[in-house]
């Protein structure tokens, strides 16, 4: 029989004895390590070169960061750096970035570089140039697909390491297409418009996409030969009222007004994803990170009937849109050295692979991750390698057609485009009138932002 529990209780004296013993032990261990040879110290020191440092990171929230949080303790164990990720909503993130970066408070040492703020952020001197770190550490950039680095490059400087390449992709319901006698997904936007009425029903809309129109429209606009500006990034003369712009907007608005969900005008990413997962739309067009939600068997009721494909092209060519987000160090950070270490880790193959394995996150920037058998095993869906669609977009975007999106005054102009499409889709204005108004306002916005152009 075990001894009475009272015998096992610790007395205050026992506690004091224990504390004394452990203190002496600790001192001895510390002393012995200090007494070790200088050579031993030199080899021991790099084990935790940044012990006690804390790096605060601010990023748009999502399950990605749950995976990173799982990896963070091991990283801290290895380097001594405690990484705290603050997740905020995407809209709030953009506003907080503006305020935090412009005031140079250094509240965060690593923040998300949002594609539409790249030009503004770099021009205002808010982002630290990573080139000195890259040269010093001989950091290997060759593993990143080229299109992923281009948006963050200005002159000789690189101002962020890439995070998620959101390449515009299509996922569609094979069964609904087959039922309508359509054997393949349309290759052009004109074909897509022709096919839409055959598939659209009251129960299942032909297509859905998020209401971030300044992101969706350029697929149509560039495919019909238009652009936001004459020759971005050098000539920012607005080109919203050109015949190409009007034609492309007419097609897109017609497709949204007639063949999309009743709430197409205000449906957000979560709404559009849910609508496709619940079988309320036959086509979901959006960034790969959004579209790949269709593979989620825990949420989607249609995973066995879907296929992925490229976005359609137009008379002027094939312009799959690519939104790049990255990790940047604010110029006001007081711990740039440590922040650089954290950026390297966040953009590492290790972290990217973990998100592939845990989240099926296929929108990745590194060749080594995209070509990894574990990624490929997840990426092949219905015989199509989804990562190939992504790589193709990244390669093509490397040619520079996404430059319109990284000019400094993009954000207010993009927001103005969103308003115009809201007006067009809900029938408040005709396409021509709405785009003429955008043209006028864009000239004003550019002047206000310090880029005067002729009216």
């Amino acid at each position: 029989m075990a001894a009475d529990w009272r015998d096992q209780r610790m007395t205050r004296r026992d506690v004091l004895k224990g504390m004394t013993a452990s203190t002496i032990g600790g001192v001895l261990v510390a002393a012995s390590s200090n007494l070790a040879s200088p050579g031993a110290r030199a080899t021991a020191a790099p084990a935790k070169p940044f012990a006690g440092k804390t790096i605060r990171v601010m990023m748009a929230g999502g399950p990605y960061w749950d995976v990173v949080s799982k990896l963070a303790p091991a990283y801290e164990e290895k380097t001594g750096i405690k990484v705290i990720v603050e997740q905020v909503g995407f809209t709030v993130l953009q506003q907080r970035l503006e305020l935090e970066l412009s005031t140079g408070t250094g509240g965060h040492d690593v923040v998300q570089m949002v594609m539409i703020l790249i030009g503004r952020t770099i021009k205002a001197g808010w982002a630290a140039d990573l080139t000195p770190f890259i040269k010093r550490d001989q950091y290997n950039l060759a593993d990143f697909v080229p299109g992923t680095l281009k948006p963050f490059t200005q002159g000789d400087g690189l101002y962020a390491l890439p995070w998620i390449p959101d390449s515009m992709t299509v996922v569609y319901r094979k069964d609904l297409f087959e039922r309508a006698g359509v054997t393949r997904f349309p290759e052009t936007l004109d074909e897509m418009l022709a096919v839409a009425p055959k598939i659209h029903t009251k129960e299942t809309a032909f297509w859905t996409c998020e209401n971030n129109w300044h992101w969706i429209w350029p697929l149509f606009l560039q495919s019909y030969g238009g652009n936001y500006f004459s020759k971005p990034p050098d000539d920012l003369t607005p080109a919203f009222n050109t015949p190409e712009a009007v034609r492309s907007a007419q097609i897109m608005v017609e497709m949204l007004a007639k063949y999309s969900l009743p709430n197409a005008v205000n449906i957000d990413i979560a709404g559009t994803q849910a609508a496709f997962q619940q079988g309320k739309a036959a086509v979901l067009l959006g960034g790969l990170a959004v579209v790949s939600g269709a593979m989620d068997k825990t949420r989607s009721t249609v995973t066995d009937r879907i296929a992925f494909t490229r976005v359609p092209k137009g008379p002027a060519g094939f312009f799959p849109q690519l939104a790049m987000h990255g990790y940047m160090i604010p110029a006001g950070s007081k711990q740039k050295e440590v922040a650089w270490e954290v950026i390297k880790w966040l953009a590492s193959r290790e972290v990217e692979m973990a998100t592939v394995e845990d989240l099926n996150q296929l929108a990745q920037c590194r060749y080594s991750v995209l070509r990894d058998p574990k990624t490929r095993q997840r990426a092949i869906w219905g015989g199509v390698d989804v990562t190939k669609i992504l790589q193709e977009s990244m390669f093509r975007a490397g040619a520079g057609y996404m430059a319109y999106r990284t000019v400094p005054p993009f954000r207010p102009i993009g927001a103005r485009v969103n308003v115009a499409f809201g007006e067009m889709i809900s029938g408040q204005k005709s396409v021509k009138d709405a785009l003429e108004a955008v043209q006028r306002d864009a000239i004003d916005i550019l002047a206000q932002a310090g880029y005067p152009v002729k009216k």
Binding site: E98, L99, N263, A274, P408, S426, D444, Q448
Partner: protein, 320 residues
């Protein structure tokens, strides 16, 4: 008259009742005003710090072309009226004033109407009614963002219980927030739901202050209910209605969470009031100078409207 202690009575000496504060000692005019200034100084200092200085700062910034991405513009007073001139040519600004006007008129009128009606119905003594009054407070005490999220769920066609109910009744199930007219109606509904308890409780309190004798007299004279309302109740509650209308009007101009969560000002700019437009210019686009110009104009308009209402209230009270 002689006091029990045999002293001459004095107006300024110890009061007859223990623990009663002493009557104020009359001092010379300058002493008095100095004391008043000293007493008011802390409050004025706080008021200056939290209200007047930020307001002066707002006015000063409104005279610059301050753009967050161009720090040098923060002291650029080279064209001090540029922001105001731009406002004068900004159709979206004037449209936002119209939206604001529609929202304010609709929400304040409905809140007052429903509040008044509710107060008349609840102006009885019953335990059930007491419970009902407490439960009616709920929408008002919820944080505005929570109220907005509740309505977001109710108005989203994919998940809306409201639309499900309409479907059961074989009625159309609209995409509330996708149609320009309906989106504005949706915001009005949500705002009225959240704030009608304020007029209701205020008017109810005013109704309960009416002397019962007046009702008795009216009853003896054979007055009908509408006449009782018109000649007895309404004169009593009119000042309350004015004050509540003023408060709600000012609050309606400040309404933000509902717009932000439900529509973000859309579709297009159909539900974009002036404060939301000023917020976009300042915090989404970084044009703080221009945003401040709009904010200053809003302040002037709101103060003018409030003064007009207060003057009207003063006339009403004088008449009564």
């Amino acid at each position: 008259m002689v006091s029990p202690a045999g002293e001459a009575p004095s107006r300024h000496l110890t009061p007859a009742v223990p623990f009663m504060p002493a009557a104020p000692v009359r001092r010379s005019g300058s002493d008095h005003s100095r004391s008043l200034r000293l007493a008011l100084a802390p409050a004025l200092a706080v008021l200056t710090g939290v209200t007047i200085l930020p307001f002066i700062f707002l006015v000063a910034i409104s005279l610059t072309r301050f753009d967050l991405a161009r720090p040098e513009t923060w002291t650029d007073f080279s064209r001090p009226l540029a922001g105001y001139l731009r406002v004068a040519h900004d159709g979206r600004f004037f449209h936002s004033l119209v939206v604001q006007g529609k929202l304010s008129v609709a929400t304040v009128a409905l809140q007052l109407g429903i509040g008044l009606l509710g107060a008349l119905l609840l102006n009885v003594r019953s335990r059930f009614i007491t419970l009902l009054r407490v439960s009616l407070l709920l929408p008002m005490v919820l944080p505005p963002i929570v109220g907005a999220i509740i309505w977001k769920v109710l108005f989203e066609p994919e998940i809306s219980p409201l639309n499900w109910l309409l479907g059961l009744l074989h009625l159309p199930q609209p995409a509330w927030l996708a149609k320009p007219g309906l989106a504005l109606v949706a915001i009005v509904i949500a705002d009225v739901w959240q704030w009608f308890p304020f007029p209701l409780l205020s008017v109810l309190a005013a109704l309960q202050m009416i002397p019962i004798e007046l009702y008795d007299a009216a009853h003896v004279d054979g007055a009908t209910s509408p006449r009782v309302f018109w000649h007895i109740m309404l004169p009593y509650i009119r000042p309350t209605l004015f004050v509540v209308a003023l408060f709600r009007l000012i609050d309606s101009i400040k309404a933000f969470p509902l717009i932000y969560v439900l529509t973000e000002g859309g579709p297009g700019t159909a539900t974009e009031p002036t404060n939301y437009y000023a917020y976009l210019q300042g915090f989404s686009f970084g044009f703080i100078g221009y945003s401040s110009s709009m904010a200053f104009i809003m302040v002037v308009l709101t103060v003018a409207l409030s003064l007009a209402m207060l003057r009207s209230l003063g006339r009403t009270v004088d008449v009564e």
